[in-house]
Amino acid sequence: MADLSINFAGIKAPNPFWLASAPPTNSGYQVMKAFDAGWGGAVWKTLGVPVVNVSSRYAATNYGGKRMAGLNNIELITDRPLADNLREIEEVKKRFPDHAVIASLMVETREQWHQIVRDAENAGADGLELNFGCPHGMCERGMGSAVGQEPNVLKTIVGWVMEVAKTPVIVKLTPNITDITVPAIAAQEGGADAISMINTIQSLIGVDLDNLVPYPYVDGKSTNGGYCGPAVKPIALNMVKNCAQIPDYKLPISGIGGIENWKDAAEHILLGAQSVQVCTAVMHYGFGIIRDLKSGLSRYMDEKGFATIDDMVGKALPNTKTWENLNLKYKVVAAIDEDKCIGCQLCYTACEDGAHQAIGLSGEGEDRIPHIIEDNCVGCNLCSLVCPVEECITMERRDDGKEHTTWKERSANNNIPTTFNDELAGGRGHWIPKPEEALKKGHYDKFK
C-alpha cells in the first residue's frame, strides 16, 4: 500500500488532501468532521478583521445535466470574531495533533500582520497561508488579489510576515495575472516557505434574463465573483506547471483548482504539487468524497509503483515542454471502430465544419458509419473528443518514430516559413475543398 503521508514545507499531514480556505473550513465543527472523515489537513477560512457579508453569495455554471461545473462566490473572508476562530483552531489541534491545520490570513498593516501571525501560531496552527488571491470584495480594499497582482507589494508583506513567523509560510497566489511565475518568484524572494495556487478566477456567471441582473442577486444588483470548481482545473494545472518549471525554484507548491476526484489530484501532483487543496467538490458533495480521493490515489500509486507522494511529484514535468520543442515528425490519424460506432456522425460534422474535412460519409442508404480520409487527417483529435462512445475513435500512429525535428531545430537551420506564401508552409499540399463545393452538397437544405 502506498504511503499517502506528506511533509509539505515542514507541515506534516497523514495525506495530501487538504481542505482549501473557504466555507468548508469556516468553523472547528466542520474541520473536525472533515478530519474524522479522513481529510489530511485544512486551511482555515481566512482570518483577519472580520467582515460583513451580503446575503445571496454563490452562483454556478451548469453544463448539460451536470450542476456546478463551475462555482462563483462573492463571499469575503471570515465574518466571525478572531477569538472564536483561534479558540476552535486550538481545540481542533488538541483533538487531531497529527493533522495539518493551516491558518489563512489577510490583513492590511504591518502591525496587524505581526499580531495575527502570532495569534494563529499561539493557537497551534501548523503553518500560515497568506491570502493574496481573493479577487472580489477584499481586493477593492487593497487586499487579496490586489496584493497578488503587485509582486513588490507581495514581497514586502511576505517580508513583514517572515519577521515574526515561526511556522512555515505559504503564499496563495491569484490566477488573475498575466504571468503567475512573477509573484511566485516574489514570494520566494520575500522569504516564503511555499506557494499555493490557484485562488479563484474573476468571473461573472451570467445574467438573469428576466430582471437583467447578473448572478448572484443581491437586492437588484450583483458584482463579479471568484470562479472555481471542475471548470477551472485546466487553468490551475497550467499555472502549477508554470511555477514548478521555474528554473532553480525551491518552494513547494500546494495545488488548488478543480479537484473533485483522485484523478484530478493525481494530475496536480504529477505536474508538481506536493499537496492538494479541495473546496468546491466538498461544497457539492460533502466531506465523504475523501474516500474516493484516498482509495483511488492509493490504488493508482500502487499500480504505478509510486511508494510515496514525493515519488510521484512532478513526474509529468519532463514531458511538458514549450511548443517549439515538440516533434514535428510525429504523425497520428484517427481510426473509427466500425463495430462500436453508433452512427451519430458527430465526428463527421465536427471535422467537416470545425476542422479539416477528413471524415467522409458513405452516402449509401442505411450506412451511417463515417470513414476517415487519411490523406486529410492532421491528427487533431477533435473527432475522438466529440465521439460519445468509449474508445470508438482512437488515434493511430503513422510515422515510423525514426525522425525527430522540432520548430526550434528548424529555426536554427533556417528551415521555417518566413514569407506569406512560403514553400515551407505546413498546410501546403494539404487537400482543401474549393469554396464553391460548400454549396453543392446542400447539407442543410432539409431544414430550410
Binding site: G65, N261, G286, I289, D292, S295, G296, R299, P388
Partner: protein, 439 residues
C-alpha cells in the same frame, strides 16, 4: 398462442431466456455512473440488506477506479456480482433512489454493480489479503449464499473453512433456483470460482450432512459450525391428486430447468398454484419454455400476492394469465394431470373462505405447486439444544443459535428471502463466530 416457441436448441433456449439485466459496456457504465447524485446518507444504501456503499462504488466507476468499486461492493457483499443481477433492485436500492421522487429513471445500480465486479472477476484480480492462520477450523453446512459468504469472511479473518454441500454445485438457489433470464449459471459459477480461488476454503460436494453421526463428527473436528442449509422440498398443499404425474413442485421444476434446460418437460397448458415470487418465476419459465397457456392461480386477491409487482409484470409480459380468489380443491386425473378443480374465495376477517357453489375446473396437462418450501425440521431436531421458531432456526444478533457452537443464516433462519439477505447473514455470522472463538 404463446409468445415463445418451445426451444429445441440451446441457442433458442438462450433467446427465450434473454437476460433482463445484461452486462453494461464501459460507455453505458460511464454515462449511468455520472448520473448518480452521490446523496448524503443515501437511501439506496439503507435499502440494501448488505449496506453496500453504493454512491461510493458508483463514483469509483465514474472515476475509472473499477477495482476500487469492486472492492467497495465485495467489502459488504461477497455475492456482489450475482446480486447485481438477481437482487429485486426495483424494491431495494433502485426502488429507493431519490430520482423516483422526480419521475426520473432511477440509477441502474444493479447493472453498475455487475459491471464493476465482472471486471475484477474477468481479470481474476484478488482484492483481499487474508489474515494469518488462526489455527481454528469451522465447518459450514451448505454452499449457498449464506454459507459461501460466511466462508469468505472467516477466511479473511484467518480461520480454516470446510464446506459440506449436498449438491454438485455451489451458490445454492443462485444456481439452482434463480430464473434463467436473471443470470446465467456460468456467471454464477464464475463468481464462485473467483471467491474460492481468492479465499481458499474447501468445498466437499455431494456430501450431505444428514444424521446425528455426521453432526457429532463435525462437532468433534471443528471449532464451530455454520448452518446454511436453506429450505427443503416444496410443501404439500394437502389436496387430492398431488401425486399424479406432471404435478410438480416449483423448486424442483425450476432446478430441473436450470440444470437440464431443453430436456425439462413442460406441458402445453400449465397451471401454477401460488402467489409468491417463486410462482411468478415458475409461470414465466413455463411460458418461455413454450407452454401455450399458463395460468397463475392464487387463492387470495391480486393485491395480496406475496410476489413483487415487477415479478408479476414480468410473468404477465410473457403471456401468463392471473386467476385470483381461486382455491384449488383437487388436482384431477387418473394417472396424469388433466385439470384442477377450484372454488372461488373471498376474504372475511383476514381469512380466506370459499364461496359455496362456485366450483370450476381449468383443464391442464401440468401443475406446478409454488406453495412454499418445507422447513428442514427433522434434520435440525438432531442438533442438541437447537431451538426453532415455527421451523426457523432461532439466532441472536450475531447469528448464533441456542447451541453456542452452531451459528446459522439464510433461508433456514428467515424462512426464505433473497440471495442478498443470506449473503448478509453469512458475513455477520462469520464475525460472530470470530468473536466466539476468541473468547
Amino acid at each position: 398462442m404463446s409468445e415463445y416457441g418451445k426451444p429445441t436448441t440451446e441457442k433458442e433456449f438462450d433467446a427465450n431466456f434473454e437476460q433482463i439485466k445484461p452486462l453494461m459496456n464501459s460507455t453505458e457504465a460511464y454515462y449511468e455512473s455520472s448520473r448518480c447524485l452521490y446523496c448524503f446518507d443515501a437511501p439506496c444504501v439503507t435499502a440494501c440488506p448488505t449496506g453496500i456503499d453504493i454512491p461510493q462504488f458508483i463514483r469509483q466507476i465514474n472515476t475509472q477506479n473499477i477495482s476500487g468499486a469492486a472492492k467497495t461492493i465485495y467489502d459488504s457483499n461477497y455475492f456482489g456480482n450475482a446480486c447485481g443481477k438477481v437482487c429485486p433492485t426495483e424494491v431495494l436500492c433502485e426502488g429507493a433512489c431519490v430520482y423516483n421522487h422526480q419521475d426520473v429513471k432511477p440509477i441502474e445500480i444493479g447493472r453498475l454493480q455487475n459491471f464493476a465486479t465482472d471486471a475484477v472477476i474477468e481479470r481474476k484480480e484478488h482484492l483481499y489479503q487474508l489474515a494469518p492462520d488462526t489455527g481454528k477450523k469451522i465447518a459450514v453446512i451448505g454452499a449457498g449464499p449464506a454459507g459461501i459468504a460466511c466462508a469468505c469472511e472467516l477466511r479473511l479473518l484467518g480461520h480454516a473453512v470446510e464446506i459440506f454441500e449436498a449438491k454438485a454445485k455451489p451458490s445454492g438457489l443462485t444456481v439452482y433456483g434463480v430464473a434463467p433470464y436473471k443470470i446465467l449459471n456460468e456467471e454464477v459459477l464464475k463468481e464462485m470460482n473467483y471467491l474460492q480461488e481468492q479465499f481458499g476454503y474447501t468445498v466437499h460436494y455431494n456430501k450431505p450432512i444428514t444424521g446425528k453421526e455426521d453432526l457429532s463428527k463435525l462437532e468433534q473436528d471443528f471449532d464451530a459450525v455454520f448452518i446454511g442449509i436453506g429450505l427443503g422440498e416444496t410443501r404439500s398443499i394437502r389436496i387430492d391428486g398431488e401425486n399424479l404425474k406432471n404435478c410438480v413442485g416449483a423448486t424442483e421444476f425450476i432446478e430441473e430447468l436450470k440444470m437440464e434446460h431443453l430436456k425439462t418437460p413442460v406441458g402445453k397448458r400449465v397451471i401454477v398454484i401460488g402467489g409468491g415470487n417463486t410462482a411468478m418465476d415458475a409461470a414465466s419459465e413455463a411460458a418461455r419454455m413454450g407452454a401455450e397457456h399458463v395460468i397463475l392461480a392464487y387463492r387470495r386477491a391480486k393485491r395480496e400476492m406475496g410476489a413483487y409487482e415487477f415479478e408479476y409484470d414480468l410473468a404477465k409480459a410473457v403471456g401468463v394469465k392471473g386467476v385470483f380468489n381461486a382455491q384449488p380443491l383437487e388436482i384431477l386425473g387418473d394417472h396424469e394431470v388433466v385439470g384442477v378443480k377450484f372454488i372461488r374465495t373471498k376474504v372475511e376477517n383476514g381469512k380466506v373462505v370459499s364461496i359455496p357453489d362456485t366450483e370450476f375446473t381449468e383443464a391442464c396437462d401440468m401443475v406446478v405447486r409454488a406453495t412454499g418450501q418445507a422447513k428442514q425440521e427433522t434434520f435440525l431436531a438432531q442438533i442438541d439444544g437447537l431451538e426453532l421458531d415455527w421451523g426457523k432456526i432461532k439466532v441472536n444478533a450475531h447469528f448464533q443459535t441456542t447451541n453456542p457452537k452452531y451459528f446459522a443464516g439464510g433461508d433456514a433462519v428467515n424462512g426464505g428471502a433473497e440471495v442478498v439477505n443470506a449473503a448478509a447473514h453469512g458475513k455477520v455470522a462469520a464475525k460472530g463466530i470470530h468473536a466466539y472463538l476468541k473468547n
